[in-house]
């Protein structure tokens, strides 16, 4: 029964597996979609801005706020001493992340004070006015420095299986190396913003661009020193998030709420773009050290890898992020013996955080470098090395964390892609053309992705929903997930439509609010549709059960003759319009509201032992990328990208393809032009789009073919057998780095592995070329 419904030819328009348009598309294109800064401002609303540290690590000797208070329009200035509750926003309970710096600052850009003023301009001016005396302390700014005397923000992890040391020693061949992997700024187009309105007693209502309203609620409650029930957090939509609003929204919500409660006026904190980029955390930068034993056939015997991460001044989510790097160091490859270790290093920089893939991309990139090294060392086509090391089916299928890969489709994905993109012939053509040493060389690479789906912290793999059917037959769906552009609300509406077979227009997914569904998990880890879709389905099925029972009694037919058909309900031999049945049910006092709950089955994880089944299932994909590189300047173009990706039975093919295209380009950006530069004083120099370059329109592949894997129903009982799609496609961008490396390698006749670090800016590419030429 559960999934047979999806197969019915009669299924409603707008139900599952349809390419429904984004539920807000009309509002997006007309400017009618309201983001938090577009909401009407209550009379007397105050604007909040932050005074930031101008030192990377220093003792705060004195803070003179008189010049701040002297700015016309300033109403309130807050420092650490003025906070009503706990001065901490750590999302993991480590108490290492003050809302406002106290006694010392730990990075350049750390908020020291907040100022509320009548206008945003006055607040911004005042936020630059304080006279602060610092006493500088030694600052640790980069991984290499941190490695010399490592201080960790949270304990590292180790995953090991087999006698890796002996296997390394026994392997016929062995190599080792180091790879540097840059971080990434989220660059959500809508910056961080929170609006707070004070209520009676302890109450405060907050509109916040957050991926995690429940956590925002709880941290605001702590910051105010009130119970969680007094705080309501709502978000209708975000203008992008990508992980950057999983924890990073919290401090701004706290400060807006504190100002609102202290002044009795509404308060809004909206960061200027530069402040946003300076203050908030980013994707973690890593240095990966690898030692690999392999043989002449390119088969890996053993791997030992160390993942050292620049975490910044506090833990934030660095523990699970660095864990996930290890979870994906194997990517699609079986390591017969393995040790993986992480080092979450403390540095005097912003506290790095979640970013689409959550450490997985960096982990995978390290694993792919190992493959590339083995390919160069053996002279084999890297794709051949990849294939030879793929996880097997029923054998060679144990991950370094001892989860068996049960749903392996990577060979199918790669075979499909190889055929579709004509990999072998194009590679041969490119190699022949490059042999003539033209000024512009080409490169091609095909890389796979296997990405584990589930929060590795098992408790987060739960979701709830609240569904109301009103007496006119319209349906309001609320769930714990947030909409950040990924089309979650569209998919959720499809789930409800599919279950009830009602008209798409009669289902409204309402703004996410902690007042309706409590204790939600972050919309993160690609889990939004998986978890909340199941929760909504559960709620709707509860309602359906009630309706079926009622209809069977009312019409005197067996319950199994009641069926939900498009726009109507078949009851025995009779078709009743859905709305008419609802009205009858109301009069018969049937409860037309239900909650639903879901928790992911089968998963467990023992971090201390490094063993378990952290993932419910895996999502797979592969990309083949061709690039052209200017050997005089290091500039490059992505000429073509072909992708085959596994979305299970896609809930919405159009939305999923959109996630794949967007994820690929975002991943390509991370590995190419998106370079974060801190100077010797610890100042971020790339704090605006003028200096930090995300891909522009012309940077997308000139030829861009995306194909969803056919016949790909999820092995597990996921929502309508679909698979998560938020994060996995980002790692398809890894093919870009390897294609660039292939092009660079041609300068040296493909004899030497270029060891191209990320991001491969034109400068880094030119350096690699000139190194090979030297």
């Amino acid at each position: 029964m559960p999934d047979a419904i999806a197969e019915r030819e009669t299924s409603a328009e707008g139900g599952a597996h349809r390419s429904r348009r984004h539920e807000s598309a009309h509002k997006h294109v007309t400017g009618a979609a309201a983001y938090i800064n577009d909401l009407p401002e209550a009379p007397g609303l105050l604007h909040v801005a932050l005074g930031l540290s101008t030192r990377a690590h220093a003792r705060l000797v004195s803070i003179d706020l008189d010049p701040v208070r002297a700015v016309p329009g300033v109403v309130l200035v807050l420092t650490a001493g003025d906070l009503p509750g706990e001065n901490d926003t750590s999302p993991v309970g480590k108490h290492d992340e003050p809302l406002l710096a106290e006694g010392h600052v730990a990075f350049h850009g750390q908020p020291i004070y907040a100022v509320a003023a009548e206008t945003r301009e006055a607040a911004r001016r005042a936020a630059r006015a304080a006279r602060i005396v610092y006493e500088d302390l030694p600052a640790v700014l980069d991984i290499e420095t941190a490695l010399a005397d490592p201080v960790l923000v949270t304990p590292g992890a180790t995953m090991q299986r087999g006698d890796w040391a002996a296997a390394l020693d026994a392997a016929p061949r062995r190599l080792s190396g180091t790879m540097a992997i840059g971080g990434q700024e989220h660059f959500y187009l809508e910056g961080q913003v929170a609006l707070a309105e004070p209520g009676e007693d302890d109450e405060v209502r907050i509109w916040c661009s957050t991926q995690h309203p429940s956590e925002t609620q709880h941290i605001v409650a702590h910051a105010l020193g009130v119970a969680s029930h007094a705080v309501t957090v709502e978000v209708r939509r975000m203008g992008g998030a990508f992980g950057g609003k999983e924890t990073q929204a919290n401090p701004f919500a706290c400060l807006a709420a504190i100002v609102a409660k202290k002044t009795g006026r509404a308060a809004k904190l909206r960061l200027d773009r530069d402040d946003d980029m300076i203050v908030t955390g980013k994707r973690h930068e890593f240095v990966v050290r690898y030692d690999v034993g392999y043989d002449d056939d390119g088969r890996i015997h053993a791997v030992d890898m160390l993942y050292a991460a620049r975490c910044g001044y506090s833990a934030d989510l660095s523990g699970p992020v660095t864990d996930r790097a290890l979870f994906h160091a194997d990517n699609c490859y079986f390591y017969p013996a393995v040790r993986l270790r992480s080092l979450p290093l403390k540095t005097n920089t912003c506290s790095n955080t979640a970013f689409r893939g959550f450490g997985g991309p960096q982990g995978m990139l390290g694993g792919e470098r190992v493959i590339e090294e083995v390919a160069f060392a053996t002279g084999l086509d890297p794709l051949e090395v990849r294939r030879r090391n793929f996880y097997g089916i029923g054998e060679r299928d144990l991950t370094p964390y001892c989860q068996t890969v049960e749903d392996n489709v990577i060979a199918d994905v790669v075979d499909t892609l190889v055929a579709r993109c004509d990999y072998a012939a194009r590679r041969a053509t490119i190699r022949a053309a490059n042999a003539a040493a033209p000024l512009i060389v080409r490169g091609i690479a095909l890389t796979p992705v296997k990405f584990g789906i589930s929060f590795t912290a098992t408790q987060f793999n739960q979701a709830a929903a609240l569904v109301h059917i009103y007496t006119d037959g319209s349906i309001a769906v609320n769930h714990g997930g947030t909409e950040m552009g990924q089309g979650l609300h569209t998919k959720i509406a499809q789930v409800a439509v599919e279950e009830l077979q009602v008209d798409a227009g009669s289902v409204r997914v309402t703004a996410t609010t902690t007042g309706k569904v409590p204790n939600t998990s972050a919309t993160a880890a690609s889990s939004g549709a998986d978890l909340n879709g199941k929760a909504v389905q559960a709620a709707v099925r509860t309602l359906k059960d009630r309706l079926v029972t009622f209809a069977a009694e009312q019409y005197g037919v067996p319950p199994d003759t009641v069926a939900f058909l498009p726009g109507r309900v078949r009851i025995g031999n009779q078709d009743v319009p859905f709305a008419a049945l609802i009205r009858q049910a109301y009069f018969a006092r049937v409860q037309l509201s239900a909650t639903g709950f879901y928790k992911t089955p089968k998963i467990h994880w023992d971090r201390d032992a490094g063993r378990g089944r952290p993932f419910y299932y895996f999502a797979y994909g592969a990309a083949c990328v061709e690039v052209a590189v200017d050997t005089l300047t290091g500039e490059y173009r992505i000429e073509r990208a072909d992708i085959v990706h596994d979305c299970g039975r896609s809930l919405n093919p159009a939305i999923d393809i959109g996630q794949i295209e967007g994820g690929f380009v975002q991943g390509a950006g991370w590995l190419t032009t998106e370079e974060l530069v801190w100077d010797a004083a610890g100042r971020l120099r790339t704090h605006a789009p003028s200096t930090y370059k995300i891909p522009a329109c012309g940077d997308r592949p000139r030829v861009f073919n995306v194909h969803l894997l056919d016949n790909a129903a999820s092995h597990e009982d996921t929502i309508f057998r679909s698979k998560a799609v938020g994060e996995p496609p980002l790692m398809l961008g890894i093919a870009v780095l390897h294609a660039l490396s292939d092009a660079v390698a041609s300068v040296g006749g493909w004899r030497v592995c270029p060891r191209l670090d990320a991001p491969a800016t034109p400068e880094r590419v030119l350096r690699a070329i000139e190194t090979l030429r030297a």
């Binding site: 773009r273 295209e661 012309g698 030119l766």
Partner: protein, 506 residues
């Protein structure tokens, strides 16, 4: 107002000076007075006008989320429809235009504009925050293309959208939406004549001065009035396109009590072709000048195609780019290599100088208080001269240059008879490579000559390290670009990753 005029030191009859700016916002006529001179179009739209469809993404003209369309009468008839960044346009600069925002595009009955409908149908929005900006850029492109009726190709759409960042979609569905809708007819085509009449009715030759407690926004209508205004208040900030001054306001929060906008000065944006070359008025935007400069020097056109974005080129002026003396401004090195002459005026005094002499040191130009750029002369290249401009940046489009190499090299029978080489990004000013030029002149144009010039570049420049590039990269690229120059001028191919390949051999 009278007092203000009196203190202003001119003796025009009362009533001739306007105390407000006037323009159309969609279908409503606006007269705006009493505003701060630095009020941005974005803050005005989102604040008092309650039009929140236009978004603030970066507040520095780099993301395009705030894109709006400015419609103006075209000299010689018709209209120009130009996308600009509302975050760094000032309300005073709207005088005489029709301003359209995303709220203006759908019909009164809710029917979407073809661009909007295509964006919906082809899944062109995800989070939707950048979407209004994309819609407006595509809309402007379509209206402007209406003139020649050409269907767009992907490369043209890439150029049109280079100033709009999207972090969700990877752009592919947006380009599909553009291809599907740009050439479609819309209600605006039929409206064009009425709009033109409405806008021409706003034309007058009055000087405009808008005052408020925060300061003064002057928009003189003639070059004489401009000269007078700047003579009377040499500390005033001259405002042309605002693509730099806008950042002084939004990012540096500078106090600018008196802005003098040159965009209303009659004839100041004229581009005149003469027997000797081009005369470019100081307030001609890049968009205004692109076609003429590209016809004179094809690679200059290619350089301008990658300068900023459509929004930046629609606002930014060549005169402004020169006057503010940025070491990484893209037009000065190209104009220096082309042998351009700068014409300055202060009061009634005029002088001319070779453009390279204008740039004294980082942040210092040869401009006296009250003096302003009046026009630029770009000579026609001598016979046998090849002009090339190579922009190297981290990202191809809408990126500030790491290295810009510009070359006018004259060949006669395989020998270099003249060479003018200038670089951006290599020094504190746009600067000529005199040693490299000397190393080339008189030599056979061969690999040895290239090597000699490469060596000389190391004495011409001591470039800096910054977040865009290291000193090593800048010098090495400048040297390597000579190899590209040689390859292109000796018929080897291909040499270019972007742009029209035929330009390499023009």
């Amino acid at each position: 107002m009278q007092d203000e005029a009196a203190s202003y030191g001119d003796n025009r009859p009362e009533g001739v000076m306007r105390d407000h700016v006037r323009f159309w916002l969609g279908s409503s006529r606006q007269e705006v007075r009493g505003i701060a001179p630095t009020l941005t179009v974005l803050d005005w739209l989102r604040g008092p006008m309650r039009r929140s469809g236009t978004k603030e993404g970066c507040n520095e003209g780099d993301c395009g989320a705030c894109t709006v369309v400015v419609v103006r009468p075209r000299a010689g008839g018709g209209l120009t429809w130009r996308a600009v960044n509302a975050c760094i346009q000032l309300v005073g600069q709207l005088d005489g235009c029709l301003l359209l925002t995303v709220e203006d595009l759908a019909a009164a009955d809710g029917t979407l504009h073809p661009v909007q409908q295509a964006m919906v149908d082809l899944h062109g929005s995800q989070c939707g925050f950048c979407t209004p900006g994309f819609v407006m850029s595509l809309f402007a492109m379509g209206r402007d293309m209406g003139r020649d009726g050409a269907a767009p190709d992907e490369a043209a759409i890439d150029d049109a959208l280079a100033g709009n960042l999207c972090r969700c979609t990877g752009y592919a569905p947006i380009v599909r939406a553009g291809l599907a809708s740009i050439a479609a007819d819309d209600a605006w085509r039929a409206e064009a004549a009425a709009i033109e009449a409405r806008l021409r009715a706003l034309d007058d030759d009055e000087d405009v001065v808008v005052t408020s407690p925060a300061g003064r926004f002057s928009a003189p209508a003639s070059v004489d009035a401009l000269a007078e205004t700047l003579l009377a208040d040499p500390d005033a900030t001259v405002l042309a396109g605002g693509t730099d001054v806008g950042l002084w306001i939004t990012k540096q929060m500078r106090v600018l009590p008196h802005l003098v906008w040159v965009g209303r000065v009659a004839g100041f944006a004229d581009i005149t072709e003469t027997a000797d070359g081009l005369e470019i008025g100081a307030s001609a935007t890049y968009s205004d000048a692109m076609a003429a400069l590209g016809a004179l020097l094809p690679d200059m056109g290619e350089l301008l195609r990658r300068l900023g974005s459509v929004q930046v080129r629609n606002a930014g002026t060549i005169g402004g780019n020169i006057a503010n003396g940025s070491p990484i401004g893209d037009s000065p090195p190209a104009l220096i290599a082309a042998g351009a002459t700068l014409h300055l005026r202060r009061g009634d005094t005029r002088r001319s100088l070779p453009l390279e002499d204008f740039f004294i040191a980082y942040g210092r130009q040869d401009r006296a208080p009250g003096e302003f750029v009046e026009r630029i002369t770009v000579p026609r290249p001598a016979p046998g001269t090849r002009f090339r401009a190579y922009k190297v940046s981290k990202r191809f489009d809408q990126d500030i240059t790491a290295v810009l190499g510009c070359y006018a090299i004259t060949l006669d029978g395989g020998r270099v008879t003249a060479a003018r080489i200038a670089h951006g990004g290599m020094a504190g000013t746009p600067k000529r490579a005199t040693a490299a030029e000397a190393a080339l002149i008189g030599r056979t144009w061969d690999a040895d000559a290239v090597r000699a010039a490469q060596g000389a570049l190391a004495s011409d420049y001591m470039p800096l390290d910054d977040m865009r590039a290291s000193a090593w990269y800048r010098l090495r690229v400048a040297q390597n670009l000579l190899v590209r120059l040689h390859a292109e001028t000796t018929g080897q191919a291909p040499t270019r990753l972007v742009g029209a390949p035929e330009l390499a051999h023009a």
